[in-house]
């Protein structure tokens, strides 16, 4: 299995800070999530990190067993 990690308010949308998913192309992984969560994750302001490294083209990601993909919404400031 691979792991999705949700930071900030994305954890509220997901109802959990992380979840285990079947490995595969990101589009397929997202298609198996609740629609509201998938839409929130695809927000263009959300940055994505694969195994702790920010990536520029998350749409090209193919998750392997043991991968961790984190979704990082804009930071809070203030």
């Amino acid at each position: 299995m691979a792991r999705l990690v949700f930071l900030g308010k994305l954890a509220d949308v997901a109802g959990a800070a992380e979840c285990a998913v079947k490995p595969g192309a990101l589009a397929d992984v997202l298609a198996r999530l609740p629609a509201a969560l998938a839409v929130a994750l695809l927000d263009e302001r959300v940055r994505v990190a694969l195994n702790g490294e920010l990536i520029a083209h998350p749409e090209a990601v193919i998750l392997a067993d043991g991968d961790e993909l984190a979704f990082l919404p804009p930071v809070s400031g203030g």
Binding site: G8, K9, V75, S76, G77, G78
Partner: protein, 147 residues
């Protein structure tokens, strides 16, 4: 010396700054900023979450960039995570330099970047309800003046 820490319990900025300045005998200037959780406005608590693989390494990169840019002798950068109460220190930046201008500017540069670029998410509790704090335009404006 650059020292960067994420702290998950209340801390005494003075104790850190004392040790930091003692480690740099002969410095000409030290400028310390301490941010505390604002009281009033019905806020009962503030919670900071972070993403371990990115947050500390991002702060370390910011610290070394700040030290290089302003030619610092040393830089201390501390940030709380977890649940905080009003009045608790949340962030501390202390810049040691040969002259005051570099120390002042470095502390401001580090704070402006920490506020708008570091990987922290904050939510506050009011009347028993948590709500997320959104990004603020002022933070981006603070950052833009260093470009």
């Amino acid at each position: 010396m650059i020292k960067v820490c994420l702290l998950d319990r209340p801390f005494d900025p003075g104790a850190f700054v004392g040790a930091f300045t003692a480690a740099h005998p002969g410095l000409g200037a030290v400028c310390t900023f301490v941010g505390e959780v604002r009281g009033g406005d019905g806020v009962a608590a503030l919670e900071l979450s972070h993403y371990a693989p990115l947050t500390l390494s991002g702060m370390e990169q910011l610290a070394s960039r700040t030290a290089d840019r302003f030619g610092l002798i040393g830089l201390l950068m501390l940030h709380r995570v977890g649940e905080l109460r009003p009045g608790e220190p949340i962030v501390c930046v202390s810049a040691a330099a040969s002259h005051r201008r570099a120390a002042f500017d470095a502390a401001q540069f580090a704070m402006d970047h920490l506020k708008s670029r570091a990987w922290f998410w904050k939510r506050e509790k009011r009347g028993g309800q948590w709500s997320w704090i959104e990004p603020r335009a002022e933070d981006y404006a603070d950052l833009a003046r260093w470009d």
